[in-house]
């Protein structure tokens, strides 16, 4: 179904040299197995789960390495068979440059599934959607467009019928990257079948695939697959402009809705998935395979034979570079991702992860930000014209540089999507996004600090309050006790006197009685009387201390 879908234009954006052809000349190559594979257990946003394997254990392809009974997160699987030789902190491909826990597998080369390939669910349209969601959850699916958001969590957040528009993102607007393009050309039928499964689960009113018009072969392949499989999906060719592949920008282009960066799309009845993610749904449901491999572009003038590889998760970058003919003498910089939003890394020993779409090796001159000295900002405003989210990059830069972070927030710093258009057009070669990232991290640090301070103050305040309260309660208690005591004393003294009086009266009465001799001493014989007198005498002589 190739209808003339209405397209809304985006504001700003840029037209960099896309340089995609260099990596699309050959079909996707299935990467050979490396000797060792390094699988970070956290490759996504959300919870990690706990590791359920041990060093020395023999494992099979598709075997879960972690377990996460519930919660927002995904589990990670072994991408091939072998022996675990280490579970340790290692460098991972992340812009922070921090280390993370990885499972290191010595590959046995058999690539043996063992019993870990699950049963296919061929009759998925007769299957309970909860069962399908469970399969997807246990398959470790994440958004493969870059965000690595747990797929199952996205599904769980949307009740049946809540999604009106399902959008499949095949835009791939970032220069150099061609993995989605090649995926669509090669596995169009798998993508369309994946969409069919999602249509069954979500039952949206419409489904759109957005693809930039610089990928005619991908559009053609998808159209053919869509006709063959007869799936109700609208393949929309959109104008080529960076950053049309951003989630909110693509929603604008296809639906006309403008969503803020912080808006959740499913609150607006929209759900978006990347084409690679949709294919992994197909693999999980129809083939019973968890997400253990992906297509990744290895490209740039620093690579001898730029191309796309289908590689197991955990394959070291250097292994793919070697398969691509190695480095050229122009290999100056290594980036994960494209030139606009990618981040530089220092080592090619890092592993491929689920959300990694591109390895770019290029001379510095090919990258949009020159390494030359940045000139002063002359407020020409070209950045503001290029900004797709209507920010004023020149003002953000001015305040960020002056460390006036509150002002950067007034200028909506946190709405910046870091697409890099501003830095790309800047005539003064200012690395603007770097300044914004710095400002953001400073503000976050400040907030964390403030939070800690607030917490400490709260604690202190509570401590003071408690001290005060305890003291007050104690005082009250004491006062009450005292009052009670005094009352008792007041009333008690009367009682006492009365008691004394009574006792005295009793004593008096007794005395008067006692003036008479005891009854049993009446009528005593003189001998008896004598005995009593003697006893009395003895008693009185007895030393007192025995008492």
């Amino acid at each position: 179904m190739m209808t003339e879908h209405k397209i809304w234009p985006i504001k700003g954006g840029v037209h960099p040299d896309f340089n995609k052809d260099c990596s699309t000349q050959t079909p996707i190559t299935k990467a050979t197995l490396p000797d060792t594979i390094v699988i970070p257990v956290a490759q996504h946003i959300g919870e990690i789960g706990h590791i359920i394997v041990d060093v020395g254990q023999t494992i099979h392809k598709g075997q879960p390495l972690t377990d996460l009974p519930e919660g927002l997160g995904v589990i990670t699987h072994a991408s091939t068979s072998g022996t675990i030789i280490a579970i340790e902190e290692r460098d991972v491909p992340h812009s922070s440059g921090l280390q993370a826990t990885c499972v290191v597998i010595d590959v046995d080369g058999k690539d043996d599934w063992g019993e870990f390939k699950r049963d296919p669910i061929l009759d998925y349209d007769q299957t309970d959607t909860m069962h399908l969601c469970g399969r997807i959850r246990r398959s470790g699916l994440v958004g493969m467009g870059g965000a690595a958001f747990p797929f199952a969590a996205k599904l769980a957040a949307t009740r049946e019928g809540a999604v009106k528009t399902l959008i499949i993102n095949g835009v791939e607007c970032e220069p150099y990257i061609s993995c989605d393009d090649m995926l669509m050309r090669t596995y169009a039928d798998e993508i369309i079948q994946g969409i069919k499964i999602l249509l069954y689960i979500l039952k949206p009113e419409e489904c759109l695939i957005g693809i930039e018009d610089n990928k005619p072969l991908a559009i053609e392949a998808l159209q053919k697959a869509q006709q063959d499989l007869d799936v109700a999906v609208d393949i929309v060719s959109i104008p080529t402009i960076y950053p049309s592949g951003d989630e909110k920008q693509l929603i604008r282009i296809l639906t006309g809705k403008k969503l803020k960066k912080t808006d959740l799309t499913f609150d607006h009845g929209i759900l978006m998935h990347n084409v690679a993610t949709v294919r992994s749904v197909f693999r999980a449901v129809i083939h019973g395979e968890p997400l253990i491999s992906r297509i990744v572009t290895v490209t740039g003038r620093g690579i001898s034979k730029p191309q796309n590889f289908e590689a197991p998760i955990g394959t070291p970058i250097e292994h793919l570079v070697k398969l691509a003919g190695g480095y050229t003498d122009q290999a100056e910089r290594l980036l994960i991702g494209g030139p606009m939003m990618g981040f530089p890394v220092k080592s090619d020993a890092l592993p491929i992860i689920k959300a990694m779409n591109c390895i770019l090796v290029a001379p510095t001159q090919d990258l949009p930000y020159s390494m030359d000295m940045a000139m002063p900002c002359i407020r020409c405003g070209q950045c503001a014209d290029a900004c797709p989210v209507d920010l004023l990059p020149q003002q953000l830069y001015w305040h960020a540089k002056a460390r006036e972070f509150d002002k950067t927030e007034t200028y909506q710093l946190f709405d910046c999507i870091e697409c890099g258009c501003c830095a790309y057009v800047c005539p003064s070669d200012i690395p603007l996004v770097a300044h914004y990232r710095f400002a953001k991290s400073e503000i976050r640090n400040e907030r964390d600090k403030q939070k800690k301070i607030d917490l400490a103050r709260e604690r202190f305040d509570f401590h003071e309050f408690r001290k005060e309260r305890d003291k007050r309660e104690r005082d009250e208690k004491r006062a009450k006790h005292k009052a009670a005591l005094q009352k008792k004393k007041a009333s008690g003294s009367n009682d006492k006197q009365a008691a004394i009086k009574a006792a005295m009266e009793r004593a008096k009465a007794k005395k008067t009685q006692q003036t008479n001799a005891p009854k049993n001493t009446d009528n005593l014989t003189p001998a008896q009387q004598k005995q009593i007198d003697e006893a009395e005498q003895r008693r009185q002589q007895k030393p007192r201390d025995t008492e």
Binding site: K248, L259, K261, P376, R379, C380, V389, D390, L392, Q412
Partner: protein, 326 residues
């Protein structure tokens, strides 16, 4: 980018040379070489790299603009003072390129105008035989050595804006004043062609996307609107909108001076407000001001001061946000 600005100044500059002869050439040579010298000196004093900053041509543009606004045959020291205030005071003492709140060329011009008003209004009549009426040698001796020009009184003439101001004060009507020699087809004789030259260059800048439409269109628009309204009310007392657009520094100001990105407002809406303010002030100073015949420099400087607040209150609505940017 600044080089494109220099290309765009070419038609207006050629027209100026055509009408004012050696005086303009001397202005250009002196102001630009002094601008580069002061720029290099300040960069050295501020321990900044000299080559990349000179390579951006911003000092050349400042010098060039001064050459076109300072009167031809002005003595070299007057040009030097103007350039000194432009480059050293208005630009580098405020932090150099990108940090100057005021348009450097206009500060230099305004300082010269306020300090040496007599020298600053000595304009020769726009003359087709300009290069021969004052020859190179006497021009050199006059400008560099202060030797009086023999026929100076014969060649000087009030500018058209000046003529209207003084004529109205003498209770003449505008149509009568416009009979004077200093008037041409639409505005000042010769000046109108210079202005059209600037317009041509300005359109080139718009075409090349070096400047956006906001400032020139708003500035000239408000100037045309105000002058039309007053002209329709009383055409004996107020000059025509065409005159106001083509006289004095309106065109140069609209396309080359108010559009200086560093000292102008930077938001789309802000640029419009900023330019409306300048156009309004130009008209007010020209028509209701007591002393100065033209007001471009003062209008620009006054609006430069308003830029930070204009920018703050004209932030565009962020993608997906509501009116209050939430």
């Amino acid at each position: 980018m600044m080089r494109e600005v220099l290309y765009a100044l070419a038609p207006g500059t050629l027209a100026m040379m055509w009408f004012f002869g050696w005086g303009i050439l001397f202005n250009i040579v002196i102001t630009i070489s002094l601008a580069i010298a002061f720029e290099a000196l300040m960069l050295k004093l501020r321990t900044r790299p000299i080559r990349p900053f000179l390579g951006d041509y911003s000092a050349v543009v400042t010098g060039w603009l001064l050459a076109l606004t300072m009167p031809p045959f002005a003595p070299w020291w007057l040009l030097a003072i103007a350039v000194f205030f432009s480059i050293v005071i208005a630009k580098h003492l405020y932090g150099g390129l990108g940090y100057n709140p005021f348009n450097p060329a206009m500060i230099g011009y305004a300082v010269a105008l306020i300090s040496f008003p007599v020298d600053m209004v000595q304009w020769p009549a726009a003359n087709l035989s300009s290069f021969s009426s004052i020859d190179f040698v006497s021009a050199f001796q006059h400008i560099m050595l202060g030797k009086p020009l023999a026929n100076w009184d014969a060649v000087t003439m009030a500018t058209s804006l000046d003529a209207i101001k003084t004529g109205l004060r003498m209770e003449q009507t505008v149509p009568v004043i416009e009979q004077g020699d200093m008037f041409g087809l639409f505005a000042g004789n010769g000046w109108e062609w210079v202005s059209l030259g600037y317009l041509l260059g300005g359109l080139w800048l718009l075409y090349r996307k070096i400047i956006s439409w906001h400032i020139p269109v708003s500035l000239l628009g408000i100037l045309a609107l105000l002058s039309t309204v007053f002209w329709l009310i009383d055409n004996q007392q107020y000059a025509s909108p065409l005159f106001h657009l083509l006289a004095g520094g309106a065109m140069l100001g609209a396309f080359f001076i108010a559009t200086d990105p560093v000292s102008a407002s930077t938001t789309p809406m802000g640029k419009i407000l900023y330019a409306i303010g300048i156009g309004f002030l130009i008209y007010v100073i020209r028509v209701f001001g007591s002393g100065y015949p033209d007001g471009v420099a003062f209008a620009v400087i006054i609006m430069n001061m308003a830029v930070p607040i204009i920018d703050y209150y004209t932030r565009p609505r962020v993608f997906g946000a509501n009116r209050s940017n939430e």
